[in-house]
Symmetry: C2
Subunit: 242 residues, 2 copies
DNA sequence: GCCGCGCTGTGACCTGCGTCACGATTGTCA
DNA sequence: TGACAATCGTGACGCAGGTCACAGCGCGGC
Protein backbone atom coordinates (compact mmCIF):
# COMPACT_ATOMS: atom_id res chain seq x y z
CA UNK A 1 0.00 0.00 0.00
CA UNK A 2 2.40 2.66 1.23
CA UNK A 3 5.24 3.17 -1.21
CA UNK A 4 8.68 3.56 0.35
CA UNK A 5 9.39 7.25 0.46
CA UNK A 6 12.76 8.92 0.31
CA UNK A 7 13.18 11.22 3.29
CA UNK A 8 13.68 14.74 2.02
CA UNK A 9 16.10 16.86 4.03
CA UNK A 10 15.59 20.60 4.05
CA UNK A 11 19.04 22.11 4.16
CA UNK A 12 18.26 25.77 3.75
CA UNK A 13 15.60 27.66 5.68
CA UNK A 14 15.68 30.44 3.08
CA UNK A 15 14.49 28.12 0.32
CA UNK A 16 12.32 25.86 2.49
CA UNK A 17 9.10 25.16 0.60
CA UNK A 18 7.03 24.94 3.79
CA UNK A 19 8.28 28.16 5.37
CA UNK A 20 5.24 30.32 4.85
CA UNK A 21 2.83 27.76 6.27
CA UNK A 22 4.85 27.30 9.45
CA UNK A 23 4.13 28.98 12.76
CA UNK A 24 7.69 29.89 13.63
CA UNK A 25 9.66 29.84 10.39
CA UNK A 26 7.82 32.52 8.46
CA UNK A 27 10.34 35.25 9.24
CA UNK A 28 11.71 38.32 7.45
CA UNK A 29 14.87 37.73 5.43
CA UNK A 30 17.29 39.14 7.99
CA UNK A 31 16.12 36.99 10.87
CA UNK A 32 15.93 34.00 8.54
CA UNK A 33 19.56 34.38 7.52
CA UNK A 34 20.57 34.64 11.18
CA UNK A 35 18.53 31.51 11.93
CA UNK A 36 20.12 29.70 9.01
CA UNK A 37 23.59 30.42 10.35
CA UNK A 38 22.74 29.40 13.94
CA UNK A 39 20.90 26.17 13.38
CA UNK A 40 22.24 22.64 13.21
CA UNK A 41 20.00 20.24 11.32
CA UNK A 42 19.63 16.62 12.33
CA UNK A 43 17.39 13.73 11.31
CA UNK A 44 15.95 11.39 13.91
CA UNK A 45 14.23 8.00 13.50
CA UNK A 46 10.80 7.28 14.94
CA UNK A 47 10.94 6.96 18.71
CA UNK A 48 13.97 9.24 19.21
CA UNK A 49 14.08 11.34 22.37
CA UNK A 50 14.86 14.97 21.59
CA UNK A 51 14.90 15.98 25.21
CA UNK A 52 14.05 14.51 28.58
CA UNK A 53 11.86 15.97 31.32
CA UNK A 54 13.98 17.32 34.16
CA UNK A 55 17.16 17.77 32.13
CA UNK A 56 18.94 21.10 32.11
CA UNK A 57 18.05 22.91 28.87
CA UNK A 58 20.64 22.69 26.13
CA UNK A 59 18.70 24.60 23.53
CA UNK A 60 15.58 24.60 21.40
CA UNK A 61 14.44 22.39 18.52
CA UNK A 62 12.50 23.57 15.52
CA UNK A 63 10.50 20.76 13.92
CA UNK A 64 10.98 20.74 10.14
CA UNK A 65 9.29 17.44 9.26
CA UNK A 66 7.55 14.89 11.44
CA UNK A 67 5.49 15.12 14.58
CA UNK A 68 6.59 14.60 18.18
CA UNK A 69 4.78 13.83 21.38
CA UNK A 70 5.42 15.84 24.55
CA UNK A 71 4.83 13.88 27.70
CA UNK A 72 5.40 14.09 31.41
CA UNK A 73 5.83 11.21 33.82
CA UNK A 74 4.99 10.78 37.50
CA UNK A 75 7.22 9.13 40.07
CA UNK A 76 5.40 5.80 39.67
CA UNK A 77 5.97 5.76 35.93
CA UNK A 78 2.45 6.77 34.95
CA UNK A 79 2.69 9.28 32.14
CA UNK A 80 0.42 11.63 30.25
CA UNK A 81 0.83 13.23 26.85
CA UNK A 82 0.72 17.01 27.02
CA UNK A 83 0.29 17.46 23.30
CA UNK A 84 1.41 16.38 19.85
CA UNK A 85 3.72 18.95 18.26
CA UNK A 86 3.43 19.62 14.54
CA UNK A 87 6.10 20.69 12.03
CA UNK A 88 6.96 24.37 12.40
CA UNK A 89 6.82 24.36 16.18
CA UNK A 90 9.66 25.28 18.49
CA UNK A 91 10.21 22.83 21.35
CA UNK A 92 11.99 23.47 24.62
CA UNK A 93 11.09 27.16 24.67
CA UNK A 94 9.87 27.39 28.26
CA UNK A 95 13.03 25.72 29.48
CA UNK A 96 15.34 27.84 27.33
CA UNK A 97 13.66 31.17 28.12
CA UNK A 98 13.39 30.72 31.87
CA UNK A 99 16.49 28.53 32.16
CA UNK A 100 14.65 25.82 34.05
CA UNK A 101 14.72 22.06 33.37
CA UNK A 102 12.74 20.78 30.40
CA UNK A 103 9.06 20.49 31.33
CA UNK A 104 8.42 17.52 29.11
CA UNK A 105 9.98 14.59 27.34
CA UNK A 106 9.90 14.97 23.57
CA UNK A 107 9.71 11.78 21.52
CA UNK A 108 9.41 11.68 17.75
CA UNK A 109 6.34 9.86 16.42
CA UNK A 110 7.78 9.43 12.94
CA UNK A 111 11.07 10.05 11.12
CA UNK A 112 11.79 13.68 11.92
CA UNK A 113 14.06 16.47 10.81
CA UNK A 114 14.72 19.14 13.41
CA UNK A 115 16.92 22.21 13.70
CA UNK A 116 18.77 22.65 16.96
CA UNK A 117 19.85 26.01 18.39
CA UNK A 118 21.93 26.14 21.58
CA UNK A 119 20.36 28.05 24.45
CA UNK A 120 22.73 31.02 24.74
CA UNK A 121 22.74 31.63 21.01
CA UNK A 122 18.97 31.38 20.91
CA UNK A 123 18.59 33.96 23.69
CA UNK A 124 20.96 36.29 21.85
CA UNK A 125 19.00 35.69 18.63
CA UNK A 126 15.80 36.48 20.54
CA UNK A 127 17.18 39.69 21.96
CA UNK A 128 18.54 40.79 18.61
CA UNK A 129 15.33 40.58 16.59
CA UNK A 130 11.95 41.96 17.66
CA UNK A 131 10.12 39.64 15.25
CA UNK A 132 11.56 36.63 17.05
CA UNK A 133 10.08 37.94 20.27
CA UNK A 134 6.66 37.98 18.61
CA UNK A 135 7.14 34.48 17.19
CA UNK A 136 8.24 33.19 20.56
CA UNK A 137 5.22 34.80 22.17
CA UNK A 138 2.98 33.13 19.59
CA UNK A 139 4.51 29.72 20.17
CA UNK A 140 4.22 30.09 23.96
CA UNK A 141 0.66 31.27 23.53
CA UNK A 142 -0.05 28.17 21.48
CA UNK A 143 1.50 25.99 24.20
CA UNK A 144 -0.70 27.66 26.80
CA UNK A 145 -3.83 27.23 24.73
CA UNK A 146 -3.09 23.53 24.23
CA UNK A 147 -2.41 23.16 27.93
CA UNK A 148 -5.66 24.90 28.85
CA UNK A 149 -7.55 22.64 26.45
CA UNK A 150 -5.98 19.66 28.14
CA UNK A 151 -6.94 21.01 31.57
CA UNK A 152 -10.51 21.53 30.41
CA UNK A 153 -10.57 18.04 28.97
CA UNK A 154 -9.16 16.47 32.12
CA UNK A 155 -11.05 18.56 34.62
CA UNK A 156 -14.40 19.31 33.05
CA UNK A 157 -15.35 16.38 30.84
CA UNK A 158 -17.22 13.91 32.94
CA UNK A 159 -16.94 10.68 31.01
CA UNK A 160 -14.25 8.90 29.05
CA UNK A 161 -16.48 8.47 25.97
CA UNK A 162 -16.84 12.24 25.91
CA UNK A 163 -13.10 12.81 26.07
CA UNK A 164 -12.42 10.28 23.32
CA UNK A 165 -15.11 11.70 21.07
CA UNK A 166 -13.59 15.14 21.56
CA UNK A 167 -10.14 13.85 20.66
CA UNK A 168 -11.33 12.07 17.55
CA UNK A 169 -13.39 15.03 16.39
CA UNK A 170 -10.30 17.16 16.93
CA UNK A 171 -8.33 14.89 14.59
CA UNK A 172 -11.13 15.18 12.07
CA UNK A 173 -10.18 18.84 11.63
CA UNK A 174 -7.63 17.80 9.03
CA UNK A 175 -8.94 14.62 7.42
CA UNK A 176 -7.09 12.38 5.00
CA UNK A 177 -7.30 13.60 1.39
CA UNK A 178 -8.83 10.44 -0.04
CA UNK A 179 -10.62 10.46 -3.38
CA UNK A 180 -13.11 7.60 -3.14
CA UNK A 181 -14.64 8.65 0.11
CA UNK A 182 -18.35 8.44 0.61
CA UNK A 183 -20.19 11.59 1.68
CA UNK A 184 -20.51 12.00 5.43
CA UNK A 185 -17.61 9.68 6.13
CA UNK A 186 -14.46 11.38 7.35
CA UNK A 187 -11.25 9.41 6.88
CA UNK A 188 -8.46 10.20 9.35
CA UNK A 189 -5.03 8.78 10.00
CA UNK A 190 -4.31 7.71 13.56
CA UNK A 191 -0.78 6.55 14.22
CA UNK A 192 -1.10 6.53 18.01
CA UNK A 193 -1.49 3.27 19.90
CA UNK A 194 -4.42 2.82 22.27
CA UNK A 195 -1.95 3.20 25.11
CA UNK A 196 -0.95 6.63 23.80
CA UNK A 197 -4.55 7.63 23.25
CA UNK A 198 -5.22 6.65 26.85
CA UNK A 199 -2.39 8.89 27.98
CA UNK A 200 -3.78 11.76 25.92
CA UNK A 201 -7.22 11.34 27.45
CA UNK A 202 -5.98 10.68 30.96
CA UNK A 203 -7.50 7.21 31.21
CA UNK A 204 -6.48 3.56 30.92
CA UNK A 205 -5.72 1.51 27.82
CA UNK A 206 -8.50 -0.98 28.51
CA UNK A 207 -11.12 1.72 28.75
CA UNK A 208 -9.96 3.17 25.43
CA UNK A 209 -10.33 -0.25 23.82
CA UNK A 210 -13.80 -0.75 25.27
CA UNK A 211 -14.96 2.74 24.34
CA UNK A 212 -13.70 2.51 20.76
CA UNK A 213 -15.50 -0.79 20.35
CA UNK A 214 -18.59 0.83 21.73
CA UNK A 215 -18.29 3.51 19.02
CA UNK A 216 -17.78 0.81 16.39
CA UNK A 217 -20.80 -1.19 17.54
CA UNK A 218 -22.92 1.96 17.35
CA UNK A 219 -21.73 2.35 13.77
CA UNK A 220 -20.11 5.71 14.43
CA UNK A 221 -16.57 4.65 13.66
CA UNK A 222 -14.76 2.22 11.38
CA UNK A 223 -11.14 1.29 12.02
CA UNK A 224 -8.79 -0.21 9.49
CA UNK A 225 -5.25 -0.22 10.81
CA UNK A 226 -4.05 3.36 11.11
CA UNK A 227 -6.92 4.61 8.95
CA UNK A 228 -10.15 5.38 10.73
CA UNK A 229 -13.46 6.52 9.33
CA UNK A 230 -15.84 8.71 11.27
CA UNK A 231 -19.19 7.39 10.02
CA UNK A 232 -21.53 9.53 12.06
CA UNK A 233 -20.07 12.79 13.11
CA UNK A 234 -23.20 14.34 14.55
CA UNK A 235 -23.83 11.45 16.94
CA UNK A 236 -20.31 11.77 18.26
CA UNK A 237 -20.73 15.49 18.65
CA UNK A 238 -23.80 14.88 20.79
CA UNK A 239 -21.51 13.19 23.30
CA UNK A 240 -19.41 16.33 23.63
CA UNK A 241 -20.88 18.97 25.88
CA UNK A 242 -18.00 21.35 26.48
CA UNK B 1 -8.72 40.90 65.00
CA UNK B 2 -7.98 42.31 61.57
CA UNK B 3 -7.60 46.08 61.70
CA UNK B 4 -9.25 48.00 58.89
CA UNK B 5 -6.56 48.88 56.40
CA UNK B 6 -6.47 51.88 54.13
CA UNK B 7 -6.06 50.73 50.53
CA UNK B 8 -2.86 52.21 49.15
CA UNK B 9 -2.99 53.18 45.49
CA UNK B 10 0.22 53.12 43.51
CA UNK B 11 -0.03 55.98 41.06
CA UNK B 12 3.42 55.91 39.55
CA UNK B 13 5.18 52.82 38.26
CA UNK B 14 8.53 54.64 38.38
CA UNK B 15 8.33 55.08 42.14
CA UNK B 16 6.45 51.87 42.89
CA UNK B 17 7.99 50.30 46.00
CA UNK B 18 7.30 46.75 44.83
CA UNK B 19 8.68 47.12 41.34
CA UNK B 20 11.90 45.19 41.74
CA UNK B 21 10.19 42.17 43.30
CA UNK B 22 7.61 41.91 40.52
CA UNK B 23 7.83 39.56 37.58
CA UNK B 24 6.76 41.99 34.91
CA UNK B 25 7.30 45.47 36.30
CA UNK B 26 11.04 45.38 36.84
CA UNK B 27 11.90 47.20 33.63
CA UNK B 28 14.59 49.63 32.49
CA UNK B 29 13.72 53.32 32.87
CA UNK B 30 12.79 53.89 29.23
CA UNK B 31 10.28 51.08 29.00
CA UNK B 32 8.94 52.00 32.42
CA UNK B 33 8.21 55.55 31.35
CA UNK B 34 6.43 54.26 28.26
CA UNK B 35 4.41 51.89 30.44
CA UNK B 36 3.56 54.71 32.85
CA UNK B 37 2.15 56.79 30.00
CA UNK B 38 0.12 53.92 28.49
CA UNK B 39 -1.49 52.46 31.55
CA UNK B 40 -4.81 53.30 33.14
CA UNK B 41 -5.01 52.40 36.80
CA UNK B 42 -8.21 51.16 38.41
CA UNK B 43 -9.19 49.69 41.75
CA UNK B 44 -11.61 46.78 41.97
CA UNK B 45 -13.48 45.31 44.96
CA UNK B 46 -13.29 41.65 45.89
CA UNK B 47 -15.23 39.53 43.41
CA UNK B 48 -14.83 41.88 40.44
CA UNK B 49 -14.54 40.32 36.99
CA UNK B 50 -11.59 41.75 35.05
CA UNK B 51 -12.36 39.74 31.96
CA UNK B 52 -14.66 36.97 30.87
CA UNK B 53 -13.81 33.74 29.07
CA UNK B 54 -14.78 33.92 25.44
CA UNK B 55 -14.82 37.71 25.18
CA UNK B 56 -12.86 39.46 22.47
CA UNK B 57 -9.63 40.79 24.03
CA UNK B 58 -9.69 44.47 24.95
CA UNK B 59 -6.24 44.59 26.45
CA UNK B 60 -4.05 43.34 29.25
CA UNK B 61 -4.14 43.89 33.01
CA UNK B 62 -1.10 44.20 35.22
CA UNK B 63 -1.86 43.25 38.83
CA UNK B 64 -0.43 45.85 41.23
CA UNK B 65 -2.03 44.69 44.49
CA UNK B 66 -4.31 41.79 45.23
CA UNK B 67 -4.64 38.30 43.81
CA UNK B 68 -7.06 37.03 41.18
CA UNK B 69 -8.34 33.63 40.19
CA UNK B 70 -8.35 32.49 36.58
CA UNK B 71 -11.05 29.99 35.82
CA UNK B 72 -12.72 28.31 32.90
CA UNK B 73 -16.25 26.98 32.74
CA UNK B 74 -17.84 24.12 30.84
CA UNK B 75 -21.16 24.24 29.06
CA UNK B 76 -22.96 22.71 32.06
CA UNK B 77 -21.61 25.35 34.41
CA UNK B 78 -18.96 23.20 36.03
CA UNK B 79 -15.82 25.27 36.39
CA UNK B 80 -12.18 24.76 37.29
CA UNK B 81 -9.59 27.21 38.50
CA UNK B 82 -6.57 27.36 36.23
CA UNK B 83 -4.42 29.23 38.69
CA UNK B 84 -4.26 32.06 41.21
CA UNK B 85 -2.43 35.07 39.81
CA UNK B 86 -0.17 37.10 42.11
CA UNK B 87 0.70 40.82 42.05
CA UNK B 88 3.14 41.63 39.28
CA UNK B 89 1.57 39.29 36.76
CA UNK B 90 0.15 40.32 33.40
CA UNK B 91 -3.26 38.87 32.63
CA UNK B 92 -4.90 38.44 29.25
CA UNK B 93 -1.58 38.04 27.45
CA UNK B 94 -2.44 34.97 25.37
CA UNK B 95 -5.60 36.66 24.14
CA UNK B 96 -3.91 39.97 23.39
CA UNK B 97 -0.88 38.47 21.62
CA UNK B 98 -2.75 36.03 19.42
CA UNK B 99 -5.91 38.15 19.17
CA UNK B 100 -8.16 35.30 20.25
CA UNK B 101 -10.92 35.40 22.88
CA UNK B 102 -9.86 35.43 26.52
CA UNK B 103 -9.01 31.89 27.64
CA UNK B 104 -10.18 32.40 31.18
CA UNK B 105 -12.40 34.42 33.43
CA UNK B 106 -10.43 36.60 35.83
CA UNK B 107 -12.05 37.35 39.19
CA UNK B 108 -10.38 39.29 41.97
CA UNK B 109 -10.04 37.43 45.26
CA UNK B 110 -9.44 40.59 47.29
CA UNK B 111 -9.50 44.35 46.76
CA UNK B 112 -7.23 44.81 43.79
CA UNK B 113 -5.42 47.54 41.92
CA UNK B 114 -4.66 46.79 38.29
CA UNK B 115 -3.21 48.70 35.35
CA UNK B 116 -5.01 48.31 32.05
CA UNK B 117 -3.35 48.66 28.65
CA UNK B 118 -5.48 48.49 25.48
CA UNK B 119 -4.52 45.72 23.08
CA UNK B 120 -3.23 47.73 20.12
CA UNK B 121 -1.12 49.97 22.33
CA UNK B 122 0.24 46.97 24.16
CA UNK B 123 1.27 45.29 20.90
CA UNK B 124 3.00 48.49 19.80
CA UNK B 125 4.68 48.72 23.20
CA UNK B 126 5.80 45.10 22.81
CA UNK B 127 7.21 45.67 19.36
CA UNK B 128 9.00 48.83 20.42
CA UNK B 129 10.99 47.42 23.34
CA UNK B 130 13.02 44.21 23.22
CA UNK B 131 12.94 43.91 27.04
CA UNK B 132 9.16 43.73 26.95
CA UNK B 133 9.43 40.78 24.61
CA UNK B 134 11.55 39.00 27.21
CA UNK B 135 9.15 39.89 30.01
CA UNK B 136 6.20 38.69 27.98
CA UNK B 137 8.04 35.47 27.22
CA UNK B 138 8.71 35.00 30.93
CA UNK B 139 5.08 35.59 31.86
CA UNK B 140 3.87 33.19 29.18
CA UNK B 141 6.45 30.66 30.30
CA UNK B 142 5.13 31.00 33.83
CA UNK B 143 1.58 30.45 32.59
CA UNK B 144 2.70 27.32 30.78
CA UNK B 145 4.51 25.97 33.80
CA UNK B 146 1.46 26.52 35.99
CA UNK B 147 -0.74 24.87 33.38
CA UNK B 148 1.58 21.86 33.13
CA UNK B 149 1.57 21.56 36.92
CA UNK B 150 -2.20 21.55 36.83
CA UNK B 151 -2.22 18.89 34.12
CA UNK B 152 0.16 16.75 36.14
CA UNK B 153 -2.00 17.24 39.20
CA UNK B 154 -5.22 16.37 37.37
CA UNK B 155 -3.87 13.57 35.24
CA UNK B 156 -1.21 11.86 37.31
CA UNK B 157 -2.27 12.09 40.93
CA UNK B 158 -4.42 9.13 41.72
CA UNK B 159 -6.29 10.23 44.82
CA UNK B 160 -7.92 13.41 46.04
CA UNK B 161 -6.01 13.36 49.36
CA UNK B 162 -2.81 13.43 47.34
CA UNK B 163 -3.93 16.41 45.29
CA UNK B 164 -5.03 18.34 48.36
CA UNK B 165 -1.82 17.58 50.22
CA UNK B 166 0.11 18.83 47.21
CA UNK B 167 -1.93 22.03 47.10
CA UNK B 168 -1.50 22.73 50.80
CA UNK B 169 2.21 22.01 50.72
CA UNK B 170 2.44 24.38 47.77
CA UNK B 171 0.86 27.13 49.84
CA UNK B 172 3.32 26.36 52.62
CA UNK B 173 6.07 27.71 50.35
CA UNK B 174 5.36 31.19 51.63
CA UNK B 175 4.03 30.79 55.18
CA UNK B 176 2.58 33.51 57.39
CA UNK B 177 5.22 35.52 59.22
CA UNK B 178 3.93 34.84 62.71
CA UNK B 179 6.10 35.37 65.76
CA UNK B 180 4.76 32.96 68.36
CA UNK B 181 4.74 29.90 66.18
CA UNK B 182 5.85 26.59 67.54
CA UNK B 183 8.65 24.77 65.74
CA UNK B 184 7.45 22.36 63.08
CA UNK B 185 4.13 24.12 62.70
CA UNK B 186 3.68 26.09 59.52
CA UNK B 187 1.02 28.81 59.60
CA UNK B 188 -0.56 29.68 56.26
CA UNK B 189 -3.37 31.95 55.16
CA UNK B 190 -6.10 30.35 53.06
CA UNK B 191 -8.75 32.73 51.77
CA UNK B 192 -10.28 30.26 49.33
CA UNK B 193 -13.57 28.55 50.11
CA UNK B 194 -13.79 24.77 50.02
CA UNK B 195 -15.74 25.13 46.81
CA UNK B 196 -12.81 27.00 45.25
CA UNK B 197 -10.31 24.50 46.58
CA UNK B 198 -12.41 21.77 45.00
CA UNK B 199 -12.26 23.60 41.67
CA UNK B 200 -8.50 23.94 41.99
CA UNK B 201 -8.09 20.23 42.69
CA UNK B 202 -10.66 19.10 40.14
CA UNK B 203 -12.95 17.44 42.68
CA UNK B 204 -16.16 18.11 44.59
CA UNK B 205 -16.74 20.36 47.58
CA UNK B 206 -17.92 17.51 49.77
CA UNK B 207 -14.81 15.48 49.14
CA UNK B 208 -12.65 18.48 50.06
CA UNK B 209 -14.54 18.83 53.32
CA UNK B 210 -14.18 15.15 54.14
CA UNK B 211 -10.50 15.04 53.22
CA UNK B 212 -9.62 18.13 55.25
CA UNK B 213 -11.39 16.62 58.25
CA UNK B 214 -9.43 13.45 57.68
CA UNK B 215 -6.22 15.52 57.81
CA UNK B 216 -7.43 17.24 60.99
CA UNK B 217 -8.31 13.95 62.69
CA UNK B 218 -4.86 12.62 61.88
CA UNK B 219 -3.44 15.71 63.58
CA UNK B 220 -1.70 16.89 60.44
CA UNK B 221 -3.64 20.13 60.09
CA UNK B 222 -5.32 22.70 62.28
CA UNK B 223 -7.80 25.17 60.85
CA UNK B 224 -8.84 28.42 62.43
CA UNK B 225 -10.85 30.50 60.00
CA UNK B 226 -8.59 31.61 57.20
CA UNK B 227 -5.48 30.67 59.17
CA UNK B 228 -4.35 27.09 58.88
CA UNK B 229 -1.47 25.33 60.58
CA UNK B 230 0.38 22.46 58.99
CA UNK B 231 1.21 20.38 62.06
CA UNK B 232 2.97 17.48 60.42
CA UNK B 233 4.54 18.33 57.15
CA UNK B 234 6.42 15.09 56.59
CA UNK B 235 3.31 12.94 56.95
CA UNK B 236 1.55 15.03 54.34
CA UNK B 237 4.56 14.80 52.06
CA UNK B 238 4.35 11.02 52.27
CA UNK B 239 0.97 11.27 50.57
CA UNK B 240 2.51 13.05 47.60
CA UNK B 241 4.23 10.80 45.13
CA UNK B 242 4.77 12.98 42.09
C1' DG C 1 8.16 -20.33 7.21
C1' DC C 2 8.20 -19.77 12.19
C1' DC C 3 8.96 -17.29 16.40
C1' DG C 4 8.25 -13.62 19.50
C1' DC C 5 6.83 -9.21 20.85
C1' DG C 6 3.79 -5.45 20.96
C1' DC C 7 -0.80 -4.39 20.40
C1' DT C 8 -5.67 -5.21 21.11
C1' DG C 9 -10.17 -7.35 23.06
C1' DT C 10 -12.79 -8.75 27.01
C1' DG C 11 -14.41 -10.61 31.45
C1' DA C 12 -14.53 -10.03 36.59
C1' DC C 13 -13.97 -7.48 40.52
C1' DC C 14 -14.10 -3.59 43.56
C1' DT C 15 -13.31 0.92 45.31
C1' DG C 16 -13.01 6.00 45.28
C1' DC C 17 -15.59 9.58 44.88
C1' DG C 18 -19.46 12.13 42.73
C1' DT C 19 -24.13 13.17 43.87
C1' DC C 20 -28.12 14.05 46.64
C1' DA C 21 -29.97 15.55 50.82
C1' DC C 22 -30.21 17.93 54.88
C1' DG C 23 -28.73 20.09 59.01
C1' DA C 24 -25.20 23.00 61.53
C1' DT C 25 -22.34 26.93 61.58
C1' DT C 26 -20.54 31.23 60.28
C1' DG C 27 -20.53 35.70 58.17
C1' DT C 28 -22.81 40.03 56.90
C1' DC C 29 -25.84 43.71 56.25
C1' DA C 30 -29.73 46.53 57.72
C1' DT D 1 -29.52 42.17 67.13
C1' DG D 2 -31.84 39.48 64.21
C1' DA D 3 -32.44 37.45 59.76
C1' DC D 4 -30.76 35.58 55.59
C1' DA D 5 -27.24 33.90 52.69
C1' DA D 6 -23.10 31.63 52.20
C1' DT D 7 -20.26 28.13 53.68
C1' DC D 8 -19.28 23.84 55.87
C1' DG D 9 -20.11 18.77 57.88
C1' DT D 10 -21.70 14.31 57.13
C1' DG D 11 -24.51 10.13 56.03
C1' DA D 12 -26.21 7.04 52.26
C1' DC D 13 -26.00 5.25 47.72
C1' DG D 14 -24.48 3.96 43.21
C1' DC D 15 -21.61 3.44 39.36
C1' DA D 16 -17.79 4.72 36.13
C1' DG D 17 -13.81 3.23 35.32
C1' DG D 18 -9.22 1.50 37.22
C1' DT D 19 -6.87 -2.84 37.79
C1' DC D 20 -5.71 -7.61 37.05
C1' DA D 21 -5.62 -11.50 34.17
C1' DC D 22 -5.47 -13.80 30.11
C1' DA D 23 -6.50 -14.82 25.30
C1' DG D 24 -6.21 -13.73 20.09
C1' DC D 25 -3.87 -11.25 16.47
C1' DG D 26 -0.75 -9.01 13.31
C1' DC D 27 3.67 -7.90 11.82
C1' DG D 28 8.54 -7.70 11.42
C1' DG D 29 12.87 -10.23 11.82
C1' DC D 30 15.65 -14.11 11.02
Amino acid sequence: MATKQVFQIIENCLTCPHREKRMFCNLPAGALRALQSLKATAVYPKGAMLCLEGQQPRGVFILCTGRAKLSTTSAEGKSIILRIAEPGEVLGLTAAVSNTPYEATVETLEPTQANFIPQTEFIRFLQGHVEIGMKVAQQLTHNCQCAYDEIRSLGLSNSVPEKLAKLILGWAENPLPIANKRPGEIPIRVTLTQEEIAQLAGTSRETVSRTLNHFKRKGWLRVNGATWWIMNRSEMEKLVTT
